[in-house]
């Protein structure tokens, strides 16, 4: 058993977080401000890169079939397919975002807080995915929320950023209160909060099943605030559009998905009710897809449009999970997890590319104006790589081949038809039409970037640096390659799907 690696995977980012902060605070001297920034950035990058070593070792141990779990007092942490999927997703995007943020955040007041919070958030998300106890799950979840509040409201001078942070904080806090009420309900009736214990208790209890359904409803709505189920989503467009671009990428790419994982974990303890949750997932999935698409259609600001498109992509994942839970089709969960990963790549890429443009067009000219869609006109000539990356991300999100999004949506479609249920197939057709509708806002944006006559903002834009281009290049390649070789993710999505179905006991 390789517990040290497992422990290191969670704790390395967490432990390095305060050190990164201190390295920035020590010698906070005007004269060395410039050099200090490099120290902070380097330290943060080193920390996240070093977390890959225990991650790879944990994966190897998992593949060899070892059970990996450990207990500190009553806190149980364990590794299964879902934890590895989340850890891999979070680490991938986290590394790229830290790399990207180097130039993007350079010289901002409180740069060290940014990296410290980001690292803490990464560690906490990995921890969350390994939690084996309901209350423990909530604590990780709350820690993730607190670190993300601070990151959303990072630009303290910006009124809109404060407003977004405030809405995010209050609505998230209400969600976490509802989760706690659900936990209290479970505790009162099961007498324990250890996931395995609760499962046994639920299966063997003669308590009215409405108690468990009620607890599940509270979990769905409580975590649903974070996952942005419509109509709990109202904070999301504000927060995702106002946060620094690296954080927007993290929020859209992993934070809401980790919320979804937390919800699945919490629901999975209420055994034997998978079908009810499946129906709810399908309902919210359909609602999210159509609402996200319609609202994205008329947006004028790029980041806000991307934020609304996240709503519809959560909807696709919910569809896959709903199929898995209602019809016991493993492929549905596999497709949902695959889409979770590809969405992380595509949406992360989209936000980073938009961030690169925002940085080059506005931030470097000391403007905090939001990036309007019309500002992108003609960007391709001056920023070919960024424009190409953004195009790949947007078309991939719209589900066009040969890009990653096509394959992950395809997998969900296949699962839907494999279920052989008329209702689900009708939902799949609905989903396909929505996917077409989404092209109506993705494709014109791509077109705009390749115009001949550049916008004023592009003309005045500054160049982008290599540290910003590198993550964009890597993610673009990944988005394209996954479109050609979708099966390479099977090794992780299948165990994750198996773990999920095993929990729901179908």
């Amino acid at each position: 058993m390789d517990l040290l690696s497992f422990f290191g995977m969670i704790s390395l980012p967490l432990i390095s977080s305060p050190f990164v902060y201190l390295s920035g605070r020590l010698g906070a001297h005007e004269a060395v401000l410039h050099r200090r920034s490099y120290v902070v950035r380097g330290f943060a990058l080193l920390a996240i890169l070093s977390a890959w070593v225990p991650f790879v070792r944990t994966v190897t141990a998992f593949m060899a079939g070892e059970t990996q779990e450990f207990m500190i007092e009553t806190i149980l942490l364990q590794v299964d397919g879902i934890s590895l999927l989340v850890a891999g997703t979070v680490l991938t995007l986290g590394t790229l975002v830290i790399l990207f943020s180097g130039p993007y955040m350079a010289g901002e007041a409180g740069e060290e807080k940014y990296y410290a919070m980001l690292l803490a958030m990464i560690g906490v998300m990995i921890g969350l995915a390994c939690a084996g106890d309901l209350f423990n799950l909530w604590v990780w979840f709350e820690a993730m929320a607190v670190s993300s509040y601070l990151l959303v409201a990072f630009y303290r001078e910006q009124a809109a950023s404060l407003e977004a942070g405030m809405k995010y904080l209050i609505q998230s806090a209400i969600g976490s209160v509802l989760v706690l009420v659900g936990i209290a309900l479970v505790l009162a009736n099961a007498g324990t909060l250890d996931m395995a214990g609760v499962r046994a208790a639920v299966a063997g209890s003669d308590v009215n099943r409405w108690v468990w359904l009620g607890a599940g409803a509270l979990f769905i709505v409580g975590f649903g605030v974070k996952v942005a189920f419509v109509p709990l989503h109202t904070w999301l467009p504000d927060a995702h559009s106002q946060a620094p671009s690296g954080i927007s990428a993290m929020l859209s790419g992993v934070v809401i998905e980790v919320g979804l994982i937390a919800m699945l974990r919490a629901l999975s303890v209420l055994t034997g009710l998978g079908e009810s949750w499946g129906v709810l997932f399908l309902t919210f999935g359909a609602l999210n897809i159509v609402y996200g698409n319609l609202l994205a259609l008329r947006q004028t600001h790029v980041k806000r449009m991307l934020a609304f498109s996240s709503l519809s992509h959560v909807g696709y994942m919910l569809m896959g999970l709903g199929i898995a839970l209602t019809s016991n089709v493993e492929l549905g969960a596999q497709g949902a997890f695959f889409h979770l990963f590809t969405h992380m790549l595509m949406k992360g890429l989209a936000f980073l590319a938009v961030g690169a443009l925002l940085y080059a067009l506005f931030l470097q000219n000391d403007s905090h104006a939001p990036l309007a869609i019309s500002d992108l006109a003609g960007a391709a000539k001056k920023y070919p790589l960024v424009a190409f990356g953004l195009s790949a991300a947007l078309l991939g999100l719209g589900g066009l081949p040969p890009l990653a999004g096509f394959m992950s949506k395809w997998q969900i479609f296949v699962a839907g038809f494999e279920s052989q249920s008329g209702w689900i197939m009708a939902l799949m057709v609905f989903m396909a039409f929505n996917s077409v509708l989404s092209l109506a806002y993705y494709a014109p944006l791509v077109n705009l970037m390749y115009r001949g006559s550049p916008s004023q903002a592009v003309t005045a834009g500054k160049p982008v640096s290599a540290a910003i281009s590198l993550p964009i290049l890597l993610m673009t390649l990944a988005v394209i390659l996954l479109g050609f070789f979708p099966q390479v993710m099977n090794w992780i999505t299948r165990p994750a799907a198996q773990s999920l179905l095993a929990f729901f006991g179908n």
Binding site: G175, F229, S276, L295, L400, W410, V429, A443, S453
Partner: protein, 583 residues
């Protein structure tokens, strides 16, 4: 060997696409050269593939449970279409050397063209429904990018998005059909769908059949999806020739022909296919009568000719439809490219401003007239043989009224083609246009296609032989060219059609020459401009959706209390759903 060739046919243009991008817009000479080289190489590989034509699978690479296996089948249907795509593709690229000279963003142009050529070959060669869909969508993407190529022009942007959305809506049909087939057969292999179609429940099979018909209609711009193709004419003209006349729009015909054996027993399917073909062929022929834009006229005629192919499939004539597809690809590419040469020379697409250009552009006039005669369907040109073959099949296997309508269509075709040729090249000069001569590369491409227009009908025997031999489920009979010629020349139907065409030409000559210019009846013009009432439907749908989207924005009013009400409401909603479903 076949596998290597297939890999090269798809891979070479894609590699070329990347190298053109890498060459950069600062080296236009390199870009032209690379594009021509890679597309020609791919065309050559496609020709080499002919001896390897068979129904055997060339590659079978297992990808996983939800993807099936990546497989390619170089059968007759696939190889003939691959050759059309790559050879006409390389001619279009050669033509572009002159046509696109000095344009900005050549890299993007050639990238999309080459990417398209590879994808089109992949689409027809694929033996797996997932990859058929995969390449199908790539062709739509490239078509979108190229229609909107001049994207500083709002009309090009609007035309592109319209084409993308309409073909994607059709793509949903292909998606649903493929997945239904998979759900019932457990396989994505096309050969399985063809051989085991009858083991499926009848209602499922008929849903699949009609889903595929929707997909094919949208891609081939057939009724009721015929509205996108005319607007797609904002693309650079070589693209209109390649994608919107010779190749991508044929994908729908390909789909119908490919799955014909599986669906022919579905009740009502053949009739629906035939009806879609007839309606498309006729209404767009009427629309072409009044159009004044040269490229739009050609686009209408493309839809109309595709209608003939769809009609042929509906009448059971897969071979006839493929034969006409080949002829049409060649002569319509010729027409479009020579129209492109005209447009490039005079700088306008408005036929009312042209006239008497024949004297200034004799070479272009000559090849255009060759293409026009083939389109009308006069003897010796390839269009004659294939159109007569379709009418022959129609006479035998479709109701008399349907046959009569298609004859009427042929007469209308003669009329509008003559009108178009007259307006552009003959009559009197109506505006003082400055004329540039056509370039050498243009002339080469046009010359090759003109020769093809004279000769491709000689390939009939070879085409029917390969199709019959490599498509076992289609039960086609091989026929020799001589036999076909004999049959057509001896059939009274041929002479009936020819005399109708002659009447139509006479009508134009003695009555319609003035009418050609402006005096077309106002009701017909209005009907044509609204695509026989379907343009308003499109507008209604798109306005409705964006209006709804705009209205919905009030739900995001940014007020905290309202947001919290959303949370409370959601909790109640979840409980209600659980109550409803859980009891």
């Amino acid at each position: 060997m076949a596998l290597i060739l297939i890999a090269l046919i798809i891979g070479l243009p894609w590699l070329g696409a990347l190298t053109v991008l890498a060459a950069g817009n600062k080296n236009p000479k390199w870009q032209h050269g690379l594009a021509v080289g890679f597309s020609l190489a791919s065309g050559l590989m496609a020709l080499f593939l002919i001896p390897f034509t068979s129904s055997r699978v060339a590659l079978d690479l297992w990808l996983g449970p939800s993807f099936g296996s990546l497989s390619f089948v170089p059968d007759g249907l696939a190889v003939s279409l691959t050759i059309i795509a790559t050879v006409i593709g390389s001619l279009a690229v050669i033509f572009s050397v002159d046509y696109m000279r000095g344009e900005a963003q050549l890299g993007r142009y050639y990238f999309l063209v080459l990417f398209f050529i590879g994808a089109m070959a992949g689409l027809v060669l694929s033996g797996n429904l997932l990859f058929t869909f995969f390449f199908w969508e790539i062709t739509a993407l490239c078509s979108y990018g190229l229609i909107s190529f001049y994207n500083d022009d709002p009309k090009a942007v609007a035309g592109g998005i319209k084409a993308l959305i309409i073909t994607q809506v059709g793509g949903v049909g292909l998606l649903v059909g493929s997945l239904l087939a998979y759900a019932n057969l457990g396989s994505f292999q096309i050969s399985d769908l063809l051989s085991k179609a009858n083991t499926m429940p009848a209602d499922v099979l008929s849903i699949i059949a009609f889903c595929f018909l929707i997909a094919a209609s949208a891609k081939s711009a057939q009724f009721p999806f015929h509205t996108w193709l005319p607007d797609a004419m904002e693309a650079p003209t070589p693209i209109s020739a390649l994608i919107h006349a010779a190749t991508m729009v044929n994908a729908g015909i390909y789909l119908l022909a490919r799955f014909f054996p599986a669906f022919e027993s579905v009740p009502g399917w053949m009739e629906m296919v035939m009806l879609a073909g007839i309606v498309s062929a006729l209404i767009t022929a009427f629309m072409a009568l009044t159009a004044t834009d040269l490229k739009r006229t050609l686009a209408y005629s493309t839809v109309s000719q595709l209608g003939y192919m769809v009609y042929a499939i509906g009448a059971g004539g897969v071979l006839a439809s493929q034969f006409h597809l080949l002829s049409h690809a060649v002569f319509k590419a010729l027409l479009f490219l020579s129209a492109g040469a005209v447009i490039h020379s005079v700088g306008t697409r408005d036929m009312t401003r042209m006239g008497a250009l024949g004297r200034k552009l004799p070479y272009v006039r000559n090849v255009f007239v060759i293409g026009a005669l083939a389109l009308i369907g006069l003897p010796v040109f390839n269009g004659f043989w294939s159109k007569e073959l379709i009418l022959e099949v129609g006479l035998e296997h479709s109701p008399r009224w349907a046959y009569g309508l298609m004859l009427l269509g042929a007469a209308l075709t003669a009329f509008y083609t003559f009108r178009m040729t007259w307006l552009v090249f003959y009559g009197s000069s109506r505006a003082d246009l400055h004329v540039h001569p056509a370039g050498l590369w243009m002339k080469i491409a046009l010359g090759v296609l003109a020769i093809g227009t004279f000769t491709t009908w000689l390939l009939f025997g070879g085409l029917s032989g390969t199709l019959a031999q490599s498509l076992p489920t289609h039960h086609l009979e091989a026929e020799s060219t001589i036999h076909m010629v004999e049959m057509i020349l001896l059939a009274p139907a041929t002479w009936l059609a020819l005399s109708l065409i002659a009447v139509s030409l006479a009508l134009f000559w003695f009555v319609g020459r003035g009418f050609a210019l402006k005096e077309s009846p106002i009701w017909l013009r209005e009907l044509s401009e609204s695509s026989f009432g379907f343009e308003p439907v499109n507008t209604f749908i798109s306005r409705g959706i964006s209006g709804l989207a705009e209205q919905l924005r009030f739900t995001q009013n940014g007020q905290m209390n309202w947001n919290i009400l959303g949370i409370v409401g959601a909790l109640l909603f979840v409980l209600a759903v659980l109550l409803w479903s859980g009891v």
